[in-house]
Symmetry: C2
Subunit: 453 residues, 2 copies
């Protein structure tokens, strides 16, 4: 195994760490862990089973605790918090940025939240309360209210003096925001512009008012889309009255994109992106059981179709041997269409305007694949069972099922989205139900009509 | 349909545009298209069937052509380039940033490449050649060689005068890089630091040498991982001798993360992330055929197992009715394990150190799910077929197949990765082959032993 992961830093560290943990040498573990960034420590903790995870968590520098908590999934976070006493939690979180703190706060015990709020100064407390007043997964929750603002009626010189007096800027500041007396957003000034223009230049000559501000109620996904469509590094957030509330920086957007991608990949298997690799067996089982029970229901639906043709199978057992091929191939072909459609829907590339065109294209692809694969399958079946009739039946059934698969692959995700659900989550089940039911029905039905008369 | 996509800006635009195109009113289309950013135009073009795509492409402002080409997938790009004559292509690409041009250049006709190179000044041509000398998907290809450097032996004052003289900074510059006389990378200075310190401050007091430089040969995925692990907005790129070659900015990293996610989602269905939603039917068919042919092969493997038990099925046709349930449920359960493992492998969280622990956890989850679902399935089968023996056989076979699924779900992706292949691509096929073959074998085998003696 070691060779495979040789180039993979995290996996290598994991191995070193695991060996050190097994041998009980905690000194090297502590040194190793604390050379990592909080995100890397989070990643490492997620890769450890609960027992080792607790040991390593105890070795992380206290000053990194808060940032590490921000960087792990909900399930793992819950476990880590359970290992800390209230004082440790308060110490860990009180220095976090407002947006990170807002992200964590709902997972904290109530008594700890009260303590944290008490330990904050009034300005920060109010900022936190404001951020928390917006629903999860909106711009309001992502924003950091800590922004540097300037007025229009001044010059670079004055701004530079103000900045030198102020000292440090908030992390990842690339623009100052220009606001009116009523704190309405007017535009932004790049730090680069302040550096490349003469000190006497009036500020209003440098204002860039091209980039629209983000509405505080926009969804996190929309925000992510805008950032990547426009190559933004940061963007101001305003309310309905154009009052500047904060700013969103691209590092948070990267986290959204990553978790959106994980969500798509895992929800296709009925899992949550916060699922812990080492979640307790009982919890993992309960969660998966729901999904598998739904699948059991659809499997019975398919089985009942086969049941209707029990007499036919009884007379020709070869049908039982071959029927999984027709159903399975439909499922595979449909999954290909589905993958393209789910991406298209996520990117907003698929809508009422082009569904019909897609249906037409995918039907033709299915028909052509049906002709090629049907012929191939028919020939193999002819060689295997020496029955021209059976060979024709299976070739026809396969082609038909590929067509059903194409139609379902296009329409199922579009319909699920139309009803306001996530196509990545539920499409697969519906699709394979269609391809199983129609695969069995077409194959066994055709066989009954053609072979058993 | 319209209601479902109401909140989806791209889909709404698509609809408006499609209506306008259908009615032949090109004026509104042109106006609509040219309010969009190049990335949005690219997205829009990808959502149009070839005919409309060509019309809209002709309406895009010439000055946006180059950026739009950068933002579309390879397949679509090829089609768009085919619509342009050499002069248009040269005009479109000659103002692109070096990293974007490097991304495009291999898709251009050779004669055009020569012309583009001729139209560039010597410095830019050398930079382009340097970037192109690194393999695709490495830091060298992602970097932009256009960086602002300063020396250590100077003060803020001097740097500010230099910057004012220089004028504009390259896009997304957030740091200046400090280099030695031999152009070795020494550290970086935040623009914010230049603004918040007194003019007389010596530069070497502001140098941040904490962030390690990226090696020019690092893979794009490693670069993306580092950016998101450390919340970087930009990073310097150096060669083996620590000579500064360029810088990578996070907007390019966002593109990598997005295409990595698309790759994972589509490759699970045997598709390429550059697949065009409206690729020509012949091309789409040929690509999918390969994948479906492999699936046909594995389906025959499963069918041949069923074939071995033809006599058993002949005696008890209920087995044919129920066998897809056992195989299918194994596939579904295995897919859940697989989804977790593929993510874990991508994040470097799964390696030799914890495979055994994962195997143990997943086996227990499978056993528990097997007990619950097996009992449920057994009861339904008892009610349906009134056979205690059949009920016990299917409950046992399901539990066994869930166990096989768990083991395959853990080991298949790990093994595929060990052999240097992408687990996202091939794992699904191997997994369902295992669950089909073992599902049929266990169920029909147990039935033969227990029910037909």
């Amino acid at each position: 195994m070691a060779e495979a992961v040789r180039h993979d830093k995290t996996a290598r560290q994991l191995r070193l760490l695991s060996d050190a943990l097994d041998s009980g040498r905690l000194g090297p573990v502590r040194r190793l862990v604390n050379t990592l960034s909080p995100a890397e420590i989070g990643n490492l903790l997620e890769s450890l089973p609960p027992g080792k995870r607790t040991v390593v968590w105890g070795l992380v520098d206290a000053e990194d605790d808060g940032e590490v908590l921000v960087h792990v999934g909900d399930d793992v976070r819950e476990g880590l918090l359970a290992e800390m006493d209230p004082d440790e939690i308060i110490a860990a979180v009180e220095d976090l940025d407002i947006d990170d703190l807002a992200d964590l706060v709902e997972d904290l015990p109530d008594t700890v939240i009260d303590e944290v709020l008490k330990s904050m100064d009034r300005e920060n407390r109010e900022r936190l309360e404001q951020v928390l007043s917006y629903p999860e997964d909106t711009a309001g929750r992502l924003m950091n209210p800590d922004v540097v603002t300037v007025r229009t009626d001044t010059t670079i010189d004055v701004v530079l003096r103000y900045l030198r007096l102020r000292g440090e800027l908030p992390e990842h500041t690339d623009h100052l925001y220009v606001v009116s007396r009523r704190h309405q957003y007017l535009g932004r000034i790049a730090l680069a512009a302040l550096l490349t223009h003469e000190p006497g230049t009036p500020i209003n000559k440098l204002i860039d008012d091209e980039q629209p501000a983000i509405d505080v109620e926009e969804s996190a996904n929309q925000v992510a889309r805008k950032f990547s469509d426009h190559d933004w590094l940061s963007a101001p957030v305003v309310d309905d009255n154009n009052i500047l509330l904060g700013r969103i920086t691209i590092d948070d957007v990267v986290d959204i994109i990553r978790s959106e991608a994980e969500h798509q990949a895992l929800s296709a298997a009925g899992l949550d992106e916060d699922e812990d690799l080492f979640s307790p067996v009982w919890r993992a089982m309960r969660r998966r059981l729901i999904w598998l029970s739904i699948n059991l229901g659809t499997a019975f639906l398919a089985a009942s179709v086969v049941g209707e043709f029990a007499d036919t199978i009884d007379k020709l057992v070869a049908l039982a041997v071959l029927m999984p091929i027709v159903a399975g191939m439909g499922g595979n072909a449909g999954t290909q269409v589905l993958a393209l459609m789910v991406r298209g829907l996520a990117l907003g590339q698929v809508g009422a305007a082009n569904v019909r065109t897609l249906l037409w294209k995918e039907s033709r692809v299915a028909l052509l694949n049906g002709l090629v694969l049907g012929t191939l399958l028919g020939l193999i079946v002819l060689l295997w069972f020496h029955s021209v009739g059976l060979s024709i039946v299976i070739a026809t059934a396969l082609t038909a099922n590929l067509l059903f698969a194409a139609v379902a692959g296009v329409l199922v995700p579009v319909t699920i989205k139309r009803f306001g659900y996530d196509p990545a989550l539920a499409s697969g089940i519906f699709l394979t139900t269609v391809t199983d039911v129609m695969g069995f029905f077409t194959f066994l039905g055709l066989a009954t009509i053609i072979l058993l008369r």
